[in-house]
């Protein structure tokens, strides 16, 4: 029996949050803060409870997968209509094999043509007798695949050709991935809602804040549950808007509004890729549906031209680049810290920024086939992910604003996840998404708690020695920091290690060695900057002028809850090997993999999951510990105060070495702190400020001046001038012609006779 429970009613979640938004927005002002926040908290609480129920039902479904007719019906629901292409599944299975992605594509055909061919062929492929459909079905039933639970309504219908009208659907899809996201989003949103009640206490726009928090949650849930790429695009942009509004929450200050603008515009730049990607994949999949499973199915079937898929995947990834802060569009994320800290925790650490990761995970078939992840060549996604992780970590080193450290850390960790996806470690990426959400949210909220105590400053120069005054904040921050640094047995260790293992193993048995090196270096750096940050904030002497005190319970309880997850969250995907060694029950290990990683042939690539590697794990932990030691040591010994980098030649050389290796990041420090004045530093700073960081500004200023130029010279000058010129010319010729009219009647008569004569002569000469 197919038990869907309330899994096909998941649309309720975004609906609840949207209603909460509407209610708060329109009537919130009439109520006190207490009531307003209660509405929001109540709504998100309901969502949290529902997500738990849904999670449980999903687990049940995985354990008791539907069979027979129920499975077929579920499949039809998810594919938006009868599965008219049973062979695609078979094709998909083959598609998982290396190099087969190109097989089906007509050689040398233009992308559009191949799409058209695909569309025409519809279900009928030459090598597919219809009987195979039934076989596939029974095979699937045997394998006990867990079909997602889908529900949909007609969103809009439009003809794609004169003969074909297609009903495009809006629907929800519930599978392990979305269930996991539901849980993450709702719990963090809930905790942030609670936390904000105190943090935003007496804020001038408390109502507005809660309204948009609700809208954000609604949009994020909508995005997560979306069953097709178009719907995801909608959610994607909606969360962007909420982010825009919330970054600009204190819009009276220019900087905040610029940060908001920058965030939105940078995302908009990325959205171009998303839009194109959605369109390209739509046509690649036969121009009949935006359904994610259809897209994956088409991509994995191997019938689509690989060029087209590559373009689609790269375009989609361009969208991911902006939303998930990948190089070179990462620069908006640190600026986005201008928003309230709980917002940073929710939107810019735990949920919205992982939308890109989620998108890749959801459309993994497209990326897998498009980038040929199975080929083990360094692909674009993996490389950008690794590179981003590296530069993010480097930049985190040199920030004195605690939130910026966390922001760059987020960039780095997002890079990690993207890298994981790029090397085929799908589950590892999702797992890291899960753990990261908790420990990073915890750290952000911790930073908020610190700032709440220290006169709303985030400058670490004005902190220090807070461990005594704010014990709860300190411990939660520390534990989360361990998790981030990947110290055993905190949650981050497991997820990070799984990624490293994935990079080491790769798909098809080969290793992404370079990615592995990237990962290890980042692990080291992460621990180091976390050590530094922790030390500067909580250890040593207090350097500020406020009177710090522990935050109220309403703020610390969310911290504790989050930290709890950050600490023990790793168990959800306990490595199978470790389970054996520790003689734990078999069902204890790899639960996340079991329940979340899809098993639906044709719609998800068959992946080799990397085994736990004890040497790698130990190595990475050691590296992290070393990094942490250096990071703390540097400050614990007050090396920074002695300006060692200037006095000691060895250290200076080491520093320069570092700077040259990661010059981009280190030079941030040099220049920001006005220390080194190396020519290279200037050049790098210039590069940073004007090429990388200033990308949006430069484009903005550039297009503005182009606009000014065009407007001034082309529009108002040439085009308008031509129009007015025509008028002036006719006017002037009128003036000229007026001279004929001399007022003297005999000249009139002369003209008359002259006219008649000339006409006559003309006709006599030319017409005759």
């Amino acid at each position: 029996m197919d038990s869907v429970g309330i899994m096909d009613k998941v649309f309720l979640l975004p609906l609840i949050m949207a209603s909460s938004f509407v209610i708060i927005l329109f009537v919130g002002k009439r109520f006190s803060e207490r009531v307003t926040s209660s509405i929001g908290i109540g709504a998100v609480g309901a969502c949290f409870v529902l997500s738990l129920v849904i999670g449980a039902q999903w687990i049940n479904r995985v354990d008791n997968p539907p069979t027979g007719a129920a499975a077929v019906a579920a499949e039809e629901a998810c594919l938006g209509g009868p599965g008219d292409d049973p062979q695609a599944r078979e094709g998909g299975g083959r598609g998982a094999e290396p190099g087969s992605a190109e097989r089906g594509a007509p050689t040398g055909a233009a992308p559009g043509e191949s799409a058209a061919v695909l569309g025409q062929e519809g279900g009928g492929s030459t090598e597919s007798p219809s009987a195979e459909g039934g076989q596939a079905e029974s095979a699937q039933a045997k394998r006990g695949e867990t079909i997602p639970v889908c529900a949909s309504i007609t969103w809009f219908e439009t003809a794609v050709s004169t003969s074909q009208t297609i009903k495009f659907e809006a629907g929800t899809v519930l599978d392990g991935l979305s269930a996991l996201m539901l849980f993450v989003v709702s719990i963090i949103s809930l905790l942030v809602h609670i936390y904000s009640k105190e943090y935003l206490h007496d804020d001038r726009r408390f109502t507005h804040y809660y309204a948009f928090l609700s809208l954000f949650t609604a949009s994020m849930l909508f995005f997560v549950l979306g069953s097709n790429s178009l719907q995801m695009l909608v959610g994607w942009e909606l969360v962007g808007v909420c982010s825009f509004v919330l970054i600009g929450h204190w819009w009276e200050e220019g900087n905040n509004t610029y940060a908001a603008l920058k965030a939105f515009l940078t995302n908009r730049v990325g959205d171009t890729g998303l839009i194109i990607g959605v369109i390209v994949t739509f046509f690649a999949a036969g121009a009949t549906s935006f359904n994610v499973f259809r897209l994956n199915e088409a991509a994995l079937s191997g019938k689509v031209s690989s060029t087209l898929l590559l373009i689609g995947a790269i375009a989609l990834f361009w969208g991911v680049t902006s939303k998930s802060g990948q190089f070179p569009l990462h620069t908006w994320l640190p600026d986005a810290m201008a928003g309230p800290t709980p917002v940073s925790a929710l939107i810019h650490a735990a949920t919205m920024v992982v939308a890109g990761v989620y998108l890749i995970a959801r459309l993994y078939g497209v990326f897998y086939a498009g980038l040929q992840i199975n080929n083990n060549t360094i692909n674009y996604v993996a490389f950008i992910g690794g590179f981003t992780a590296l530069i993010g970590a480097g930049l985190a080193f040199v920030q004195k604003d605690i939130k910026k450290v966390l922001a760059y850390s987020t960039v780095s960790q997002l890079g990690y996840m993207v890298m994981a996806l790029g090397v085929g470690a799908w589950t590892a990426a999702v797992f890291h998404l899960f753990t990261h959400a908790f420990f990073k949210a915890s750290m952000f909220l911790g930073a908020g708690s610190v700032s709440h105590a220290c006169h709303h400053t985030f400058d670490m120069d004005e902190m220090g020695g807070l461990k005594k005054k704010m014990p709860i904040t300190r411990w939660t921050f520390m534990f989360s920091g361990f998790a981030l640094a990947g110290i055993f047995p905190f949650a981050g260790f497991f997820s990070k290690d799984e990624i490293l293992a994935g990079a080491a193993n790769g798909q098809g048995g080969n290793a992404y060695t370079i990615m592995l090196v990237f990962g290890l270096v980042v692990a080291f750096m992460t621990a180091a900057y976390m050590g530094r940050t922790y030390y500067r904030t909580f250890e040593g002497e207090y350097r500020g002028h406020a009177h710090p005190h522990e935050s109220p319970k309403i703020m610390t309880i969310p911290l504790i809850i989050l930290t709890t997850f950050a600490t023990i969250g790793g168990v959800v995907n306990f490595p199978g090997k470790l389970t054996e060694w520790l003689r734990l029950p078999q069902t204890f290990g790899g639960r996340l993999e079991h329940y979340v990683q899809p098993e639906w042939a044709g719609r998800f690539p068959t992946l080799d999951v990397a085994e736990f590697n004890p040497w790698l794990a130990t190595g990475s932990v050691l590296l992290a510990l070393l990094g942490m030691f250096i990071g703390i040591g540097w400050y614990a010994n007050r090396l920074y105060e002695r300006k060692l980098t200037e006095r000691s030649k060895v250290l200076h050389a080491g520093y320069t070495f570092l700077a040259n290796k990661y010059y981009l990041d280190a030079l941030y420090e040099n220049v920001i702190r006005d220390r080194g004045v190396f020519p290279l530093a200037r050049a790098s700073y210039w590069f940073n400020q004007y090429v990388v960081d200033g990308i949006v500004n430069a484009v903005g200023v550039g297009s503005r001046s182009v606009g000014n130029f065009l407007y001034k010279y082309l529009d108002q000058g040439a085009i308008d001038g031509a129009v007015n010129g025509t008028g002036i010319v006719s006017d002037e010729s009128g003036q000229l012609l007026r001279r004929i009219q001399t007022g003297k009647v005999q000249q009139y008569a002369a003209l008359f006779f002259f006219g008649a004569t000339v006409l006559t002569i003309f006709f006599v000469v030319f017409i005759r």
């Binding site: 008359f752 006409l759 006599v764």
Partner: protein, 511 residues
């Protein structure tokens, strides 16, 4: 006159002189108008100078009566009555044009009433001359022979010369009359010279016969070209085609405004009637001369007229140039007259349609100008500023007329232009298409100066603070009422005018 004399002649010489058969019914509008003229003269003789009010009414009634008889002719007579050996034809075309002349005559009488009555003018003679001129036009509509065309032309022109100089103590009016007269007689003389040559070449003055005679031969002799051009040029003067238009602005500006309206509408229409008769009946066989000639005249006329109109500051003068340009539009179908395989009646109808609508909107515009001038005592465009504030009704009417002249729906002008386009397209010749494009460009230029008047009235504040409404005499109101209704109706339900025009087929095409 002949009517009265014929029986007597018959008695004097029974069997010697046989009066030509005359269908008196077909002739009745002319007879009625002549009788009115006689009555008006008599009444004028027997009334005192200060007591001429009745004359105006009488003249109006006479014109309407004549119009009624046009109706009678339509109902009773068959659709073409040919008299005097084909020299005088009463066909539908002629009847429609007669109705047009009579109606415009009536409107001119209406708009003259107060202008003439309140000024220092000879009132009795004024209406006599108007009536005489209208009579000439009626004759022109039916004239299909060089002699009758000539007589009709003189009958309608000579009174007009005097009317133009009617404000005889006003130097401008004198100048207007003098210029009009000199140019007029000179043009007539040139035309007559052409006619004499035509007669010499063909041995006849009947248009149908002339056509038959000159249609032979692939290449026309030079003398024939000279004759045809001289004759057409004479009427080019009448319709103020460039470069024969020079009299028009000066005369229009100087003449009393109702006379200007009369010249701009009725007199010009008469010129077109003659042109149509000549081109479609007399010279259709010589399309090789007529078409390029008319093409050149049309193109020149519309372009030059519009361009100069752009720079005018006096509204009447602007209307003069606008009238020049409109003449250019109406000449356009003549430029494709007789193209192979097309019904020449399409061109005729388009011109008739244009004339009908043009008469209404132009007369209306002059009526409003006269009414506004009662307050401003000026014809400068700038003097009309703020008209929308103190005289919204008048300003709206003028706006309607100007918009219509610019050819913008839903007022009649669009259909007028449309039918010109239609004629040009039906011909399907490159000449037609190029003229159509030229017409488009010109109508945009024209819109500029028409709208400038609207702009001054609507968007600029009044010069003086005197915001008292303008008192519009009832006769002017009636005139404006008629013209507005016709202008709007012809635009909204063009079937009204097109139905008339479509019956306007000239009898005796191409001989």
């Amino acid at each position: 006159m002949l009517a009265a004399v014929a029986p007597i002649l018959a008695q004097i010489a029974p069997g010697g002189f046989q009066g030509p058969p005359v269908n008196w019914v077909a002739f009745s509008p002319e007879v009625v108008l002549t009788a009115t003229l006689v009555v008006v003269v008599l009444v004028d003789v027997f009334t005192e100078r200060y007591d001429k009010g009745a004359i105006n009414t009488l003249a109006g009634i006479g014109v309407l009566l004549s119009l009624l008889f046009v109706g009678v002719v339509v109902v009773t007579a068959n659709n073409s009555e040919s008299m005097f050996g084909g020299a005088y034809v009463v066909d539908n075309f002629a009847l429609i044009m007669k109705a047009l002349f009579l109606l415009s005559g009536y409107v001119v009488i209406l708009i003259s009433t107060n202008y003439i009555g309140e000024g220092d003018y000879w009132e009795g003679e004024y209406y006599q001359l108007i009536l005489a001129s209208v009579l000439g036009m009626l004759v022109m509509a039916s004239a299909r022979d060089l002699i009758s065309i000539f007589i009709a032309l003189e009958l309608l022109s000579i009174p007009a010369y005097m009317l133009a100089a009617w404000r005889k103590r006003d130097l401008k009016s004198d100048e207007a009359g003098m210029k009009y007269y000199l140019m007029g007689v000179f043009a007539t003389a040139v035309m007559l010279y052409g006619m004499s040559l035509l007669y010499g070449l063909t041995g006849d003055t009947l248009l149908t016969k002339i056509n038959a005679a000159i249609s032979t031969g692939t290449k026309p002799p030079a003398i024939l070209i000279l004759a045809v051009i001289f004759v057409l040029v004479g009427f080019g003067f009448k319709v103020s085609a460039v470069p024969f238009h020079t009299w028009a602005p000066d005369t229009y500006e100087g003449a009393p405004t109702p006379v200007t309206a009369f010249l701009a509408v009725a007199s010009k229409a008469a010129g077109f009637v003659a042109l149509m008769n000549l081109v479609f009946i007399g010279f259709l066989g010589r399309a090789d001369i007529v078409q390029p000639l008319m093409w050149a005249l049309s193109a020149l006329t519309m372009t030059v007229g519009n361009l100069i109109a752009l720079r005018q500051t006096n509204v009447v003068r602007m209307f003069a140039y606008s009238g020049v340009a409109q003449a250019g539009y109406m000449l356009a179908p003549l430029a494709v007259a007789g193209s192979s395989g097309t019904d020449p009646n399409v061109a005729v109808r388009s011109i008739v349609t244009y004339l009908l609508i043009y008469a209404a909107m132009n007369l209306g515009a002059f009526a409003v100008v006269i009414a506004l001038a009662r307050k401003t005592r000026s014809a400068e465009i700038t003097s009309m500023s703020g008209a929308f504030h103190y005289a919204p009704g008048l300003a709206w009417c003028l706006t309607i007329f100007l918009t219509s002249l610019a050819g913008i729906p839903p007022f009649g002008g669009w259909f007028a232009k449309f039918s010109i386009f239609q004629a040009l397209f039906t011909a399907a010749t490159p000449a037609g298409y190029t003229l159509a494009v030229l017409l488009v460009v010109n109508s945009v230029i024209a819109a500029f100066y028409y709208m400038r008047v609207v702009r001054v009235m609507a968007f600029e504040p009044a010069d003086d603070v005197d915001m008292t409404p303008v008192k519009v005499p009832s006769s002017l109101l009636v005139a404006m009422g008629i013209t507005v209704v016709v202008t709007v109706l012809t635009g909204v339900v063009p079937a009204i005018v097109s139905q008339f025009a479509s019956s306007a087929s000239l009898v005796g095409f191409g001989g």
